[in-house]
């Protein structure tokens, strides 16, 4: 009876990995993308465009170093323009990778095994893009090392009571731990590539990178302990990172920033945009490289559900912000709300509500949740919406605060846009290279999902 019940519910669920695969076929299929499949014209075209955009980023930052940040639209009172908007946007995107690799591991969500590797790569590249912005925003970027507690001729140390310093430590810890997590997860797969490749040079390269991994039971035992502990450490870390990012705002007294809802609402927003990016990457990758067997409808649906849930938390955050604007009785808070709805940037606020709250509600419909094209479109809308959210937080609060005499307007220049679009290019260029050089899906974790991996005592 119970057996029957089990099989009927299993039938209804789309599998994490299509039936018929063995250890060998999983290995061959994933490693072939790296080892034997020639790079297509489409790959060269995509990488070429992304690479040119990366060059544009270099050009824009080179000119910035030459001229100073006057080439940007930042003016008093809006000292934080695109640079902080983009920084928060990129950091947020990275959060989904850690959520998938660490939190879903602790929750024993084995479906994560097909998407954790490239989601972690996405985290790494997104954090790299994010890190550029504060560094070039300091005005004299050659002195950016003052952010770290490095002895200098003045004898003075960084100001540890400032959330901006906390942010430096949070983001650099996050970047380090993400890189370690990603690399250590690759070690067994690099050993697989070492044993599969027929190119003697590549065998040495992969052999060195794999540290001579041989899959000993003792090694696996320590490896699994380490992996679990690292996941346990990365979980509070990822929650702390966007919390600390929100402190950059919430500790200040500017109306629209000084609220306690910021930390949870920032974390939810980060995961929201991160899953949108995961879907925007996963949908074309599974199609182009024929990985529909490994990244199934189930993965798309689950990601869509996470997006729907975090999107509702974000909507709740907007609701509370609006409610507090009215309920607090603080005239500056009330004005901030009015300014969002009717001020000179009202279009961006209304667009935000459409992108982040209204459009994603279509994910309640099962048919759209399982349609790759619809999901791709919704994810794009969410990414735009989350960018607008940060624009509204940064620019709308700063441009009209307490005194009308210090009001102003922010107009991004072409250099702002070139830097922003340039980081998107850099992110994509890194993703294109990653797909060709390293296994985009964790091979050894996929093996554990196969029925033949189960062992009885």
């Amino acid at each position: 009876m119970s057996e029957q019940y089990k099989s009927s519910t299993e039938l209804e669920r789309v599998p994490v990995i299509e039936p018929g695969h063995t250890f060998g076929t999983v290995t061959e299929k994933i490693s072939a993308i790296v080892l034997t499949r020639p790079a297509s014209n489409g790959w060269f075209l995509g990488f070429g465009i992304a690479f040119m955009l990366t060059m544009m980023l270099l050009f824009a930052t080179g000119y910035l170093f030459l001229k100073g940040i006057g080439i940007w639209g930042d003016t008093t009172p809006i000292g934080w323009g695109f640079e902080i908007v983009n920084f928060v946007w990129w950091i947020g995107i990275g959060h989904a990778g850690t959520l998938i690799s660490a939190i879903l591991l602790l929750l024993r969500q084995s479906w994560r095994n097909s998407i954790n590797r490239f989601a972690e790569a996405m985290t790494l590249f997104a954090v790299a893009c994010a890190g550029i912005f504060p560094a070039i925003h300091v005005g004299r970027p050659w002195l950016a090392y003052w952010l770290f507690p490095i002895p200098n001729t003045m004898g003075v140390w960084p100001q540890f009571r400032s959330p901006l310093m906390w942010d430096v430590f949070a983001v650099s810890t996050y970047a380090t731990i993400s890189a370690l997590f990603w690399f250590v997860g690759l070690i067994p797969d690099l050993a697989t590539l070492r044993d599969r490749t027929e190119n003697p040079t590549l065998r040495i390269v992969y052999g060195m990178l794999s540290f001579g991994w041989r899959g000993s039971a003792r090694h696996w035992h320590r490896y699994e302990t380490m992996y679990l502990l690292l996941a346990g450490l990365a979980t509070p870390l990822v929650l702390s990172v966007h919390t600390v990012v929100s402190f950059d705002f919430a500790v200040g007294i500017v109306p629209g920033w000084h609220t306690t809802i910021f930390p949870p609402y920032f974390v939810a927003g980060a995961i929201y945009s991160g899953f949108a990016m995961v879907l925007m990457l996963a949908i074309p990758i599974r199609k182009i490289y024929g990985l529909e067997d490994f990244i199934t409808e189930r993965h798309l649906q689950n990601s869509a559900k996470v997006m729907l849930a975090t999107g509702l938390i974000v909507a709740y955050g907007y609701g509370i912000e609006a409610f507090m604007g009215w309920y607090s009785g603080d005239r500056y808070d009330a004005f901030t709300l009015w300014n969002r709805l009717h001020g000179p940037y009202a279009v961006s606020y209304w667009a935000l509500l459409i992108c982040n709250i209204f459009v994603p509600q279509v994910l309640w419909i099962r048919k759209l949740r399982t349609s790759p094209i619809a999901l791709f479109f919704v994810s794009g809308v969410v990414l735009v919406g989350m960018w607008l959210e940060r624009f509204i937080i940064v620019v709308l609060s700063l441009h009209r605060d307490f005194l009308t005499s210090s009001w102003g307007m922010y107009y991004p220049t072409r250099w702002d846009w070139m830097t922003y679009i340039g980081t998107i290019g850099m992110f994509l260029a890194a993703m294109f290279l990653f797909l060709r050089i390293l296994p985009a899906i964790s091979i050894f974790e996929m093996r554990t999902l196969l029925p033949e991996a189960e062992v009885k005592e």
């Binding site: 063995t22 250890f23 060998g24 290995t27 507690p149 004898g155 003075v156 140390w157 100001q159 540890f160 009571r161 959330p163 310093m165 906390w166 430590f169 949070a170 810890t173 380090t176 731990i177 370690l180 997590f181 250590v184 067994p188 697989t192 070492r194 044993d195 599969r196 052999g207 540290f211 001579g212 991994w213 041989r214 899959g215 000993s216 039971a217 003792r218 090694h219 696996w220 035992h221 320590r222 490896y223 699994e224 302990t225 380490m226 502990l229 690292l230 450490l233 990365a234 509070p236 870390l237 702390s240 402190f247 050894f444 974790e445 093996r447 554990t448 033949e452 991996a453 062992v455 009885k456």
Partner: protein, 178 residues
């Protein structure tokens, strides 16, 4: 000391189940210096070859404590001892403001200790190892499962051990030159 020209005898199996059973039988038969190789972590396999605990958690704990202490003491020394600055009338030793960086440094040190501790305890990096001398061993990272009895084991005997492993019904059997 002269090194034995033979590192061990290695048996190849088709499935994870066969490897676990073979490891169990070999360990039961009194062989203690054995190892098993698989393309993915198999639950309970390490226990079958007599490996029950590892020191990774201890290394991580020490790393985490050191990280937390480093984080807090660094801030205390820099902000309250070496160069106290009066910022907005806040006390130089503003401990609540130091908690965030203390937390981040705890995670940083613990995470680094986890990865490097695991590698060090495993004796990695080690690009060369005698087991790689067996040509079929390249499948250990794909779909084959291996069991080895080291020649340093007390019960090891070139003929008797070979016979014992043969009885476990392996797919192939090879001597591993050291």
């Amino acid at each position: 000391m002269k090194r034995d020209p033979i590192y061990g005898i290695m048996a190849e199996f088709d499935s994870a189940q066969a490897l676990v059973d073979a490891a169990h039988a070999t360990h039961q038969a009194g062989y203690k210096k054995i190892d098993a190789y698989s393309p993915f972590p198999i639950e309970g396999l390490a226990e079958e070859i007599g490996f029950h605990r590892n020191e990774v958690p201890l290394v991580v704990l020490i790393g985490g404590i050191l990280g937390g202490l480093t984080g807090y003491l660094m801030q205390y020394w820099m902000a309250a001892v070496d160069y106290p600055l009066n910022i907005g009338g806040k006390p130089p030793h503003s401990w609540p403001a130091f908690i965030v960086i203390t937390f981040e440094m705890t995670i940083l040190f613990a995470g680094i200790s986890a990865v490097f501790g695991m590698l060090a305890l495993n004796g990695l990096p080690m690009p060369y190892h005698p087991v790689f001398n067996v040509e079929r061993f390249s499948s250990a990272s794909k779909d084959r499962f291996f069991l080895i009895v080291f020649s340093t084991d007390k019960k090891y005997d070139p003929i008797a051990t070979r016979k014992f492993l043969e009885a476990l019904n392996p797919r192939s059997l090879s001597e591993v030159p050291s």
